[in-house]
């Protein structure tokens, strides 16, 4: 895995977008542009994009009828890993929606969490200083 040494480590990029479905692609675009500064493995970049989209989707669906809700993303890329925090304002992230469901037959929903956990190395629920719930995703880069 080629990791660029030119770029400073531990720097954080924050992106705040309206919690609305048409902005999720912007989060993917920025995320892709950011990671590409650090590594060139397109498969890993795609995996991370899918996982982050899934979290954004969940927030967007929950925030559907909430005025001015925002989706707060924070990316920190380091030499060996990327950490992505997803939170929202205007509406508490509901933990229930992030619990996996076992479906008895193929259903239209419930694939988001399987993708997140298969594609990322670590998924944690944390709280920030303001006690806002944040979902933290982590992916280690193969060396």
């Amino acid at each position: 895995m080629k990791v660029s040494e030119e770029v400073l480590l531990e720097n954080k990029v924050k992106l705040v977008i309206p919690a609305s479905s048409e902005y999720v692609s912007l989060a993917r675009l920025a995320l892709g542009g950011l990671i590409r500064n650090f590594l060139s493995d397109e498969e890993i970049i795609e995996d991370i994009k899918i996982a982050v989209s899934e979290v954004c989707n969940s927030v967007v669906l929950q925030a559907e009828n909430v005025d001015n809700a925002t989706l707060d993303l924070s990316f920190s890329v380091q030499e060996e890993e990327i950490t992505i925090d997803v939170g929202c304002t205007g509406k508490e992230l509901e933990l229930a929606a992030l619990t996996p469901i076992v479906w008895s037959e193929p259903e239209e929903r419930g694939y988001g969490l399987s993708l997140i956990s298969a594609l990322m190395d670590k998924v944690e629920l944390i709280s920030d200083d303001g006690n806002k719930t944040i979902l933290r995703l982590r992916k280690y880069f193969p060396s």
Partner: protein, 112 residues
């Protein structure tokens, strides 16, 4: 990026060619095209995913929903897909067992 959907009747199947990103914003467009087809009595459907640049569970959900609808009329949905990135999400979610997936249109058309 947007999602373009072209529909073509081939043999007695309907082929939906997707071009772009299938995500939470664009998936409803795919859902309504699938519902339209079912409403028109078209139950043999092939969805061509070869030009899909990105797809997440929003796309999977819509395809599974479409499958349930056509199955209740003894129809089927086959997929054309050879892109590793897209195949991966069908594998992770176990949907490779639900959808017949082919890497070319000929086989997909034969299967429906």
């Amino acid at each position: 990026m947007d999602l373009k959907i072209a529909v073509e009747e081939k043999d007695d199947a309907m082929v939906l060619r997707l071009d772009g990103e299938v995500d939470v914003y664009t998936a409803p467009k795919l859902k309504s095209r699938l519902i339209d087809l079912v409403d028109q009595g078209k139950f043999k459907i092939v969805v061509d995913l070869e030009k899909v640049a990105f797809m997440d569970s929003s796309g999977l959900g819509v395809l599974v929903g479409g499958l349930k609808r056509v199955r209740s009329h003894d129809g089927s949905i086959s997929l054309i897909c050879s892109q590793e990135n897209i195949l991966k999400i069908f594998r992770i979610t176990g949907l490779v067992k639900i959808f017949p997936i082919f890497d070319n249109e000929g086989q997909a058309l034969e299967s429906v």
